[in-house]
């Protein structure tokens, strides 16, 4: 009774949100989990197939390629957009015209990934980067970028970096602007150089922002879909698919809902597990 008096109001406030999450999120996950153990194709009744869909993920080269590409995307979009975002924010921190550069770098993020994809398809076409390479005598470097694995994945990562760096830079700039001045003054008095100040003062103080930026980049990299669908649709010959693209193709193009569900469960488990370990490690350190 006391507990109800103490927490009753709070429960009433949270109940609608909790019910919505149970109705639309938890039940969807449970249904997806069930479908992943069946051969459901959307027409016939689903038949139980046990772990067959999961086993196939580690036997079929298409899925193995997809898994490899996902890991490449995760590593590349963690290292480059976050690293470059931090670099640009530090470079822009004290220069004149910061606002102009901030806007220029942030502009790609204001575009939808579909538009970014279309722009980069043109840039990677015969009349784009290849034309420039040919004009300057670098014909040998003029590849059919989007049709040549693994360069098609790298090319799309470049497009993604172009789009994603600006927002990370902005978050780091906000973080840098809110850092206390005293540690920097103390470091200056002690004669610390710029590099030492950056490693020993700036980076540790920026940690809360870095955790958020890396955490978001991590999850975003696992679910990457839009830009790949626009630029290559996972092709040619399924060479540039990531797990999210494979899940979509299996579910909605060839109607292997069971296989698609298994991929989505694996993707979710990997994302949550990686995020969990990352957050646990970093927050324990932070604490």
């Amino acid at each position: 009774m006391n507990a109800w008096k103490k927490h009753g109001a709070a429960l009433c406030y949270t109940l609608p949100a909790a019910l919505i999450i149970v109705a639309f999120f938890i039940t969807s996950i449970a249904y997806t989990l069930y479908v992943s153990f069946t051969d459901y194709d959307g027409l016939d009744s689903p038949h139980w197939v046990g772990f067959e869909n999961y086993a196939r993920l580690f036997q079929d080269m298409t899925y193995i390629t997809s898994l490899k590409n996902t890991l490449i995307w995760v590593v590349a979009t963690l290292v480059f957009p976050v690293g470059l975002g931090l670099l640009f924010s530090v470079m822009l921190q004290r220069i004149k015209g910061q606002r102009l550069f901030k806007n220029i770098f942030y502009l790609p993020y204001a575009m939808s990934l579909t538009v970014v994809g279309v722009i980069w398809v043109l840039l990677f076409s015969r009349t784009g980067i290849n034309f420039v390479l040919t004009q300057v005598g670098l014909d040998k470097l003029a590849l059919d970028w989007l049709n040549t694995p693994p360069y098609n994945t790298y090319a799309m990562i470049v497009a993604s970096i172009w789009q994603g760096t600006g927002t990370n830079m902005l978050l780091f700039l906000i973080g840098l602007g809110s850092l206390p001045k005293e540690p920097f003054e103390a470091a200056a008095i002690d004669g610390a150089g710029r590099a030492r100040t950056f490693w020993n003062i700036t980076l540790p103080l920026l940690n809360p922002i870095t955790i958020v930026v890396l955490g978001m980049s991590l999850v975003n990299s696992f679910k990457i879909f839009d830009i790949i669908w626009v630029m290559t649709m996972g092709g040619p010959y399924r060479s540039s698919e990531t797990l999210a693209v494979t899940m979509y193709r299996e579910s909605f193009v060839i109607f292997h809902f069971g296989q698609g569900a298994a991929i989505s469960i694996v993707l979710t488990v990997i994302s949550i597990a990686v995020s969990w370990f990352y957050l646990r490690q970093t927050i324990v350190k932070e604490a």
């Binding site: 027409l43 049709n147 839009d226 909605f252 109607f255 994302s271």
Partner: protein, 442 residues
């Protein structure tokens, strides 16, 4: 406490991001409806739903928004002949369209009428019992002038479903200006075809354009080389009675490979944006595609019959005979449609002479009636040639073999197009997939 708060906040952010990921696919269906169209779920099967008393409306689902204009032209005809008005439910692309149709079967909102694909894609709907049987109506339609031969691709176990709304042949388009300048004529034999390629090459003109932008583009030349060499093996291959590693298939693939070795093919272009303008500019002289691609050339400023023509490729050997790939687009009625009877009547009305003429004038293709001629000079000439040569029609690879295999094999054939030296690997991969599929679906 602070630590727990930060941890909880980040967990919520990550879960939100994952939820957003799951929502991507589902968002496409509603957004793919063309502006001003009826929402996918709106059944309009009310007997008083039409503008005039006694008329009924039937929902018509399709994945080509341009057909909305077709409905405006065709509705007066269906109203006159069946008192039925078709209400369009357009989708912008096939993926969300197919999902909506399939999911619809399991609800009370199954599509009254919908566009589909023939062959295996239609067979799985027949096997699941989702299609309305129109065998009796076909007797009436044939008596009215519809060619009974066009029912064959829509007939399964003696029952016929739907109507063939569009029939197209897969042909070689050629640039007339380039052919005229080089004194070339459409070939009657394979040797003549090879001579055309050699002549063009010797003049510095790339003979043939290709495309590889979509997965399905991969089957175009595979099926062509197969039916020009061993059409019987092709027919067995698509139903799992032959192997992709059989000598006849390897022979066809080596012939395809030789075209790359000899430099007959241009680098692949995007068939939607690049191929037609490139063909119009003379970047290459020929292009193999369904006869519907004529519209793309028209869009690039070319006039059919004057600037470009089309021919059926000759067979490599006389034993292969006169064969041509056909693509049939059926309109079907759901067995559990709310408005099934009226939808069936509307489809019958679409086969009337006036309706077929209207369809041909708007979207081209081969007439489904004996008393109708195509207004398109290219289609007219092709149908005459095909009729005179007693060509046998062969179902397009995409529909002739189960979707899972056509998708995978086409994707692998694109691997071959980009890496012709990987012939053996491609055939091995496809055969492995085929063995797995047929073992599971015996």
């Amino acid at each position: 406490m602070k630590r727990i708060g930060l941890f909880a906040l980040l967990t919520v952010l990550i879960l939100s991001a994952l939820t957003a990921c799951g929502g991507n696919g589902k968002e496409q269906a509603p957004s793919s409806s063309a502006p001003g169209s009826a929402p996918a779920g709106s059944a309009a099967a009310s007997p008083t739903g039409g503008g005039e008393q006694g008329t009924v409306q039937a929902d018509f689902y399709y994945d080509n928004p341009a057909w909305t204009d077709y409905l405006k032209e065709i509705n007066p005809i269906t109203l006159k002949n069946s008192q039925t008005e078709l209400k369009g439910v357009p989708y912008n692309e096939p993926t969300s369209f197919q999902t909506a149709i399939r999911v619809g079967f399991t609800t009370k909102e199954a599509a009254d009428i919908f566009k589909w694909w023939n062959g295996y894609q239609m067979k799985e709907l027949v096997d699941a019992g989702y299609l309305a049987d129109m065998t009796n109506e076909w007797k009436e339609m044939v008596a009215d002038g519809v060619d009974p031969a066009v029912a064959s691709t829509l007939t399964f176990d003696g029952k016929t479903y739907g109507i063939p709304a569009g029939i197209h042949y897969w042909v070689m388009f050629y640039n007339k200006k380039i052919f005229d300048e080089n004194n070339l004529q459409p070939p009657k034999t394979w040797d003549e075809f090879i001579n055309i390629n050699e002549t063009l090459k010797s003049k510095g003109i790339t003979p043939i354009g290709t495309t590889s932008v979509d997965v399905w583009n991969g089957f175009i030349w595979f099926e062509e080389f197969m039916i020009r060499t061993h059409p019987d093996v092709y027919r067995k291959l698509v139903v799992g009675e032959a192997k992709y590693t059989d000598p006849e298939v390897v022979e066809a693939m080596k012939l395809w490979q030789s075209f790359y070795d000899k430099g007959y093919f241009d680098k692949p272009t995007d068939f939607q944006k690049e191929s037609a303008p490139a063909f119009a500019k003379g970047q290459f002289a020929m292009y193999l595609m369904g006869s519907w691609y004529s519209d793309y050339f028209k869009g690039a400023g070319m006039e059919p019959g004057k600037d470009f023509g089309a021919f059926v490729l000759p067979s490599v050997t006389p034993e292969a005979g006169n064969v041509v790939i056909s693509e049939v687009t059926p309109f079907l009625v759901s067995q559990n449609a709310k408005n099934k009877d009226n939808a069936v009547k509307a489809l019958v009305a679409l086969t009337k002479k006036e309706a077929n003429e209207k369809m041909l004038s708007l979207y081209g293709g081969v007439p489904i009636r004996k008393d109708v001629e195509s207004p398109d000079p290219i289609i007219h000439s092709l149908t005459s040639d095909i009729s005179a040569g007693q060509y046998q029609t062969i179902t397009r690879f995409w529909e002739a073999t189960p979707s899972e295999l056509s998708e995978y094999a086409s994707s692998e054939f694109i691997r071959f197009m980009l890496n012709p030296d990987q012939l053996d690997r491609v055939l091995d991969n496809v055969q492995k997939k085929a063995e797995q599929y047929w073992a599971e679906h015996k």
